[in-house]
Symmetry: C2
Subunit: 203 residues, 2 copies
């Protein structure tokens, strides 16, 4: 089994996930700045030209970060990062999607529509990107209100993949200098908790 | 347990899923055209103002279609619609995300950015919406190439939630009169297979 990965938020999500599980895998570095993810040999692995990609020993290819993480969870069930029982697992799925679509997605819209790097990926509409940049603080405020019940992690009492997704969204927003309001007590406490975990520094 | 649902692609996904499982639930109809999903009482259930929403008997709320489906799968494991073993489950997660992000998402961009109904949901950039409309046929062509190995369903040999997502994307694209090229032998055969299932008519 080997992992094709590189810079960027999705490879980082999988690296944090692996660090939380205490697993490591042989890796193949894909250099996005050289455009290696668009080279014909790579497109044979993932026709969408995206990393990360997990290749199993029999040649089976798994793409999409969350699918890779879910497979690694099956091989390494402890600690569970997709929830512990049916309702817990439903809440992790719900919250991972909510932070992915609401927070990460809004940051993504800004970067896809304004960054030179993505000019071939989508038709870029910089006005839309800038409007979404202004929406990002509202999304963090929404998350702060949702966490006003004092729960330590996004999906409840336990750290989960939803915390990884939202933590990486915070990291990405800082990288692109997108405002995250300072006055978010619940988000700030949560983010401190997530960033104090050794997995945050996963290379 | 009860399901808040109404018109639109996400409620339809859950209805098809339930029909495939042979389960039914008490329902509360949420009238999107009256804006009931933005009423204060509904926003207490789902602060994002979206349907469907599953409420459990103890008052726990599960939002996000795929989270609702995953919970229903836990209660009703047969037939499995999220895959049968670890690699199968990884492929279903991968393909459900691929068709959701690539096909459904591109159709969604068009509707969100051009339809009066969504004018308060995102800052609308009709030029972006129209550009994404032109991308939809390319996404179907991509899926057709991916299915050239002759597999009957999107994630492999078995019908799964990925087929529900892609089938509903086809339905949504037709509703909004977005082109799906006629010359897609693999997609056409697959879509005929999906539409011939009784679940397609789930009300």
């Amino acid at each position: 089994m080997k992992l094709y990965c590189g810079v960027g938020p999705n490879s980082y999500r999988v690296r944090i996930f692996m660090a939380e599980k205490g697993v490591d895998l042989p890796r193949v570095e894909v250099d996005l700045f050289k455009g290696e993810h668009k080279f014909p040999e790579f497109l044979k692995l993932n026709s969408l030209g995206q990393i990360p990609v997990l290749m199993l020993d029999d040649g089976t290819v798994i793409t999409e970060s969350v699918a890779i993480c879910r497979y690694l969870e099956e091989l390494n069930p402890e600690p569970p990062l997709f929830g512990r029982e049916p309702v817990g697992r439903a809440k992790v799925e719900m919250w991972n999607r909510r932070v992915e679509l609401q927070v990460m997605g809004t940051i993504g819209d800004y970067t896809f529509h304004t960054n030179e790097f993505f000019k071939d990926r989508v038709p870029q509409f910089p006005g839309f990107g800038e409007a979404q940049k202004l929406n990002v603080p509202r999304k963090w405020e929404w998350l702060d209100r949702e966490m006003a019940d004092g729960r330590p992690f996004i999906a409840g009492e336990q750290f989960s993949i939803a915390d990884i997704t939202a933590g990486v969204a915070a990291w990405l927003g800082e990288f692109f200098e997108i405002e995250r309001p300072a006055s978010l007590p619940n988000v700030n406490r949560w983010l401190e908790r997530v960033r104090s975990r050794p997995s945050w520094n996963a290379q």
